[in-house]
Amino acid sequence: MTRRSRTAVLAIIWAGLVGLAAAYIHATLRVSGDLRLFLPSPQTRAERLILDEVSEGPASRLLMVALHGAPAAELAETSLKLAQALRADPSFELVTNGANQLSAIPPALLPYRYLLSPTLDHHRLDASYLHAELIEREHDLASPAASLLESWLPSDPTLETLKVLDSWEPPHEPRLLDGVWFDAGGNEALLVIETAAAAFDPRAQRAAMHALEERFAAVRASPAVALTVTGPGAFSVLMQNRSEADARLAGILDTLGMAALMLLAYRRWWYVLLGALPLATAGIAALAAVTALFGTVHGITIAFGFTLIGVAIDYPIFVFSHERPGVPAIDTARSIWRTLAIAVVGLCIAYLAFALSGVRGLEQLACFNVAGLAAAGLSTRYLIPRLLPPGARDYGESRLPSRLAAFAARIPRTRWLAPGLLSLSLAVLIVGRSPLWENDLSRLTPVPQSLLREYASLQHELGQPDVRYLVAVSGSTAEQVLSREERLRAGLAQLVADKAVSGFDDAARYLPSAQTQRRRRAALPSSAALRRALRTALRGTDFRPGLFAPFQKDVARARKLAPLTPSNIAGTPLELTIGSLLVHLDGGWTGVVTFTDVRNPSAIERLAAASGIPARLLDLKQASEELVAHQRTRILWSMTAAAALLALVVYASLRSMRRAFVVLTPMALTMLLTLAALHAAGVELNLFHLIALALAAGLGLDYALFFERSSREPAGRRRTLHALLVCATAACMVFAVLASSALPVLRSIGVTVVLGVIGNFSLALVLIGSQETLACSDTTTSPR
């Protein structure tokens, strides 16, 4: 086979492999948005509960909807129709807008009213109680209330249905206008919607938002009616759309910039295409590997992974810049391969440390990077050179590298530079006053302040529970939790009376314990006793004889009912309410008590502590901050382990402690300097900064290894300078675009990498240059 046809076969095989991998990914890959993938596995039941609440608890799935822009009647009409349309849509579990409050007791639960209502705790259905109630009903009938009550009276003369409804009523309800919830000003019709999907499942949330908007457009009373949706799910969709738009723009700018840079540096369009090959191969290989190993990949893994394998853009550049006239590209590649291999293998081994972090997202990231970098390295070594013509010129002779080399040689060398920078950055890090770390979990998807204010005000209008404080009541069975909550209720009512909170909600409010229900059932009179009592009670009233036969029948029926339990309320609206307040976790049960308007958390804490039952106050904000801190500790340990592994690999491949030290110093110093610079600027560090630092370190390793490799030969050093100039410019350009994004996530990655690249390049240039003089003096004084 000729060289030409071998090249063609190679290119076809490669394209086929990449195509197959891409098809495999397309068929298999599932992107998940579950935040828990990036958090350490919860250790305790409380941590599990917190993670559940934060990532898929009912509070996280609630969307608050405001309809505005038109007269109240049109808004109310739209609210009613929208609620009806959404109830038929499986994307939504619960839709409430204040309408139909009176008929909220499902018919299936009506017979249970005597077991659910507290009446029988204090009274018996005897003649005197019934008589007093019947007189009250006469008075009720002596008013137009009759039209509302009349249909119930024959079966429910003591109005137990109303009492049950009253006890189920939310602690604070928005005002009703035209039959639906409105804000206090009467300008916005309000709805609360619970999505079936978790808040951090962006794809399902997007589908739900889309369905919501579509249904709204179909039912709105007039085009003037406008829709505002707020809530964690809406935020995650919005932020994802924004970051995608920003990332897409950055991608376009970066592609154009890279093409221009490569053209400028190598003056051949063929190089532009070839330069992109290893990166593309790396991306596909990395995705394929993660898909094969994990099946489901977190969206953040993919985003971080692509950021981190960006280092692969450097690999073909090293080959291009090291060309010499007349030398076949394959020889050039062979000559730099050892250094490149150390860089690739070093990073791969370092990323393996992530795999031991115990954080599933990081394990995926490790797999992604190892596969991607290996593919990029191998394609640079075995594919690129075969597609390149023999070298035509020596890029080391270009103007810029020659001048830079001359300039670097003139920089005064001092042994104190490295220790000086080290102490300076340590001093900044230690003395700095601002908090070093950002602990707020919500900053992972930062939401603009204006949206948060809108969210808070709607939450207040709707009387939604406080998302920060909860009391968790645990027990071995649901029944035990319910009876424990019943014991807590007196204390909770006292909290409301003391204005420590303005309301509370728990499962026992809707579903008394079976024990309580049995006690109430036992208090119901027998048919004969009730008949006698009713006959006496009716004396002196004007009710028609025989009117209350349905009442007698219902009481007789209630006497035979088995108590309602969490397991037999399936299919009723209670199931959803109870499901969010009573959770089955790790073989035990946990009851969640939620509060509205918490003014005095320590009063709740004291109550929980003094209650004598396993109840404790959970501060979700504090707990999630602890989780973030916990996660960061693990990541920092992983990064430390990665650094140690990297140092070992470099030492083992260079076989010299001194050379390894020379290579690693600029990288380590840059990391510290970048941290110090960010800290001095008042930036609180988060996960994104750490990932960006890891990328910068990867780039720095390349720079240092190549500088060190070429330190003994001036012509080679100029070629290396050319390569590194292109690399550093490319990295700065790409990440400067990210740094200019309005989104804090992209900005923190961009700024960190740009700082890191500048630091790594200049320190490698200066520090490794100075080692070169040492190395030269070594060779002159000790002949080999």
């Binding site: 137009p144 009276l153 005002r175 009117l547």
Partner: protein, 235 residues
């Protein structure tokens, strides 16, 4: 107990009842109405204009509820007070004591031997608008009243009946019609026809002072509304 929605409805009657304060100037105004052209739109305007009352004013009332659940009507008596726009009170004194008061959005209800209950009118939006319409009636705001009801006036100046049919389907679901009857500028009675067939008759002003027979029935109350007893001198 807080049977909120039900109890809010109590407020319907007070508002209606307040349309009927006794006024010293009824004689001359009756003359004015008599001289006006009969059975025209103008007649309703003129009537409503003269039915309007400044706050505060009060009137006794006597009210009967005819319900399918009861063997005889429930009859209560007491005082209705118009305390100013949006503020009304209904005090039952016979045969038991009860006071219901609306101020703004809040309804307060007191019954003998029970703690006072407060709740928001928001719970019963249909009644909120009904209440607003009666305030319109008392304030002589014909336009506001016509937005809420279809109005039609029967009879002559000496004995007239104003029919109010709710336009809002939600209200119409519960209340089919309300008739307001009187003679001259004196309002005698309001009758509420509920969708379920129940009827409430509220006699006010002079009519409320009628002596109840031993077993008052629909016919007796209807006659009181028309003013037949008063005119014929029968009890």
């Amino acid at each position: 107990m807080k049977h909120l929605p039900a109890l809010v409805v109590l407020l319907l009657a007070p508002v209606a009842g307040l349309c009927a304060p006794a006024g010293p100037g009824s004689g001359p105004r009756l003359a004015a109405l008599s001289s006006a052209a009969p059975r025209t739109g103008f007649e309703i305007d003129a009537l409503l204009e003269h039915l309007a009352r400044p706050a505060p004013s009060s009137t006794p009332f006597l009210e009967a509820h005819f319900s399918a659940l009861l063997i005889r009507p429930l009859v209560v008596g007491g005082t209705l007070e118009y305390l100013g726009p949006g503020s009304l009170a209904r005090t039952v004194t016979e045969p038991y004591h009860e006071r219901a008061e609306v101020r703004g959005d809040t309804v307060t209800l007191e019954r003998d031997g029970e703690p006072a209950q407060q709740f928001s009118l928001d719970r019963v939006p249909a009644l909120r608008s009904l209440l607003a319409s009666f305030t319109a009636l008392l304030g002589g705001n014909v336009a506001a009243l016509e937005r809420q009801f279809r109005l039609d006036l029967h009879g002559d100046a000496a004995r007239w009946t104003l029919g109010l049919t709710p336009r809002d389907p939600q209200i119409h679901q519960r209340i089919r019609a309300i008739t307001v009857s009187g003679s001259g500028f004196d309002l005698r009675c309001l009758t509420t026809f509920q969708a379920n067939g129940d009827v409430t008759v509220t006699l006010v002003s002079a009519a409320a002072r009628a002596r109840l027979p031993a077993a008052p029935d629909r016919a007796w109350f209807a006659a009181e509304c028309r003013g037949s007893h008063a005119r014929t001198g029968e009890p």
